[in-house]
């Protein structure tokens, strides 16, 4: 398949890996920020192929994971309201709140609808004038512009029965928090490609310069990630700390200006709580004054719902790259994707969930157990 096979090509991957083995002389610690990148690394076992000592730690970039539980509880409260239609992406449906999830609320009669595009909620609102329609959207800078379209269209078309429950977070402030921490271990960063395709590369250039840490904007396929790892390692070995762009097929320096305009037309920057990390200054988006009337939390008086994180969960350490999922005593026992204690176990893009999904059994298989080559080819 074009535009995909090239980036999963074994030979290309192997040649990048060979180059990495050639240039890496020290046990560098690198972090991939985005959950999509974590998923690919663990799914293909790329981190296990790195030269001895080199380590990948997994960053906070899974938007579903870092959404605070109280936002889920607010969505559930809305879905239980009579004459209310809650519209969201499929990924949010299974995320547990403090006592239920949206799929269960739906099963008990709540009107919960799954969509692929947020603007479908505009259509639903127009078709159901007697109902309140709430679009529930979370995500990073990547999904924010499309979610912003909901409020923008509602305002433009004067749709009174549509509002937004949103929890958007921004990547650079969280990365800055990690890099400025006295416990930071991360020596090089793979920045999230899709976020940069909207926001451009400027913020990461600043971070690289300020914290003297090389940053490579990376894609999401195995060859992308291996190339990004090689680029970071080359910088580290040469003593450089620049921002470089591996994901050139998607990311331009200026990003996507129209998407950004839409984003900042509707949203403004605010402080935001991240599940697992706590409050991070200027790391979130909220509806700006002109659009506040479409804020579901204000419209339905939901500001007071709050939930404490379970004490046993070490997600703050995981999300900062200070611990690996298997170092947690609850991993795979008291904490599973069906019943997660904390952020990284929630969505399949979270580090704990990826380890649970692909690696919960250890131990190598011997070569003679492999499928004999050529058989059935």
């Amino acid at each position: 398949m074009r535009y995909l096979d090239e980036y999963r090509d074994e030979r290309l991957f192997r040649s990048q890996l060979a180059r990495l083995t050639q240039i890496a002389t020290r046990p560098w610690v690198l972090m991939e920020v985005c959950g999509g990148q974590t998923h690919t690394l663990v799914r293909y076992g790329i981190d296990e192929l790195l030269p001895a000592g080199m380590e990948m730690v997994h960053g906070p970039g899974c938007p579903v994971c870092v959404t605070p539980v109280e936002i889920i509880d607010k969505a559930i409260a809305l879905a239980r309201r009579p004459n209310t239609i809650l519209v969201s992406y499929g990924d949010m449906m299974r995320v547990p709140g403090s006592e239920s999830d949206l799929l269960h609320v739906k099963a008990l009669g709540g009107d919960v609808r799954m969509v692929y595009s947020p603007t479908e909620s505009v259509k639903i609102a127009l078709e159901n004038p007697a109902c309140e329609v709430v679009f529930f959207g979370v995500g990073f800078e990547t999904t924010a512009p499309a979610n912003a379209m909901v409020a923008w269209q509602a305002r433009r078309q004067g749709i009174r029965n549509l509002s937004l429950l949103s929890s958007h977070v921004l990547v650079p402030p969280a990365v800055e928090m990690l890099l400025s921490s006295p416990h930071n271990r991360v020596q090089g960063l793979i920045a999230p490609g899709h976020v940069c395709s909207i926001m451009g590369t400027g913020a990461y250039e600043e971070l690289a310069a300020k914290y003297k840490v090389p940053i490579v904007i990376g894609g999401f396929e195995p060859v992308d990630l291996m190339e990004a790892i090689v680029m970071l390692t080359a910088q580290l070995e040469e003593g450089r700390c620049d921002m470089e762009n591996q994901y050139r097929r998607s990311v331009r320096e200026a990003g996507n200006q129209r998407a950004r305009e839409m984003l900042f037309e509707v949203y403004e920057v605010c402080d935001r709580k991240w599940r697992g990390l706590g409050e991070v200054a200027v790391s979130g988006l909220q509806l700006s004054a002109a659009y506040r009337e479409f804020d579901a939390e204000l419209r339905f008086g939901l500001e007071d719902i709050s939930v404490a994180e379970p004490k046993e969960c070490i997600s703050a350490m995981i999300l900062q790259g200070l611990a690996k999922p298997k170092q947690c005593g609850a991993f795979g026992t008291r904490c599973t994707p069906e019943s997660p204690l904390g952020a990284p176990m929630v969505s399949s893009e979270g580090a704990c969930a990826a380890y649970y999904l692909y690696r919960r059994h250890n131990g190598e298989m011997s070569e003679d157990e492999c499928v004999p080559s050529g058989e059935g080819a």
């Binding site: 949010m92 692929y116 692909y358 298989m365 499928v371």
Partner: protein, 351 residues
Amino acid sequence: MSVREMPSIACPMPLPVKSHVVLGHGSGGRLSAALMRDIFLPAFGNPVLNELNDQASVSMAAGRVAFTTDSYVVKPLFFPGGSIGELAVYGTVNDLAVGGAEPQYLSAAFILEEGLPLETLRRVVDQMAVAARRAGVSIVTGDTKVVEKGSGDEIFITTAGIGVIPEGVVLGPQYVRAGDRILLNGPIGEHGVTILAQREGLGVSGDLVSDTAPLTELCRAVVRAAPGLRTMRDLTRGGLASATNEIAATARAGVLLDERSIPVSDTVRGACELFGLDPMHVANEGKLIAIVAPEDAQSALAAMRSVEAGRRAQVIGTVTLNRPGCVVMRTSFGTDRIVDMLSGDQLPRIC
């Protein structure tokens, strides 16, 4: 269609079947009889059904009897490559065939939603009849109920099937041994992705067609060619991941799959990328895995490839002593990862 109401067929002025299903069609009265006369009998008619008894009375060859049932609630009713009618026949036939049985008779029970166009029912029933003929089975008994509008979704069908397992054919996951080979009869994920694309109104162009098909001939060929056949399983909901996990769990053995040898069409891969799905979890309706002793792998593969439903068969993995109960995929990069069953429904990711 209980037989007690059937004498009304003999009524000199039977009520004509109207254009839509009404509650009376399930009442067991004249409308039920008209439905039987105008829609079911012309399509399914066979000597056993035509007797219109409360039960079908059939003769079976000697041997053990395989017996299975399944319900069909697919939406939309019609999709590229098939319909709920074909699924209702092939799904049950395939459950029998993978047990090594020769499927013979089916029952068909319909739950219809009030207001369903009779033309839609007729189309479904006609396609069931064609499917039954293709699969070599007779639909010999059945039932129809009608529920109020909003209490169902157009048509739900439950079929049950029986078949005879020939002497000497003993299959089951408990016979699986380390070293056995796992064979797959063709590319995975086609049915699930086709349905999803239809449901979401996604205009995926190209060859996105459900793989709905009877597997009787294929199973027969494998049974004949491979005396060391351990077990077969058709891949429906939960896909290849669920089928292999179930076998690994029952056999208390490990399963090692080779990612490169599992066929997936470009269209299915593309659609899965778009929807955020893994083809390993996507439903199939004309695919099976067969687990055979290593010495029979090549003859079983050749047998599969000799029939239409198995042209693109592959050996996709081996049974191992390691990690009992666990399915592991060896990736194209030589690394291993667990292949898990899906938890809950398969939902798309958001980014």
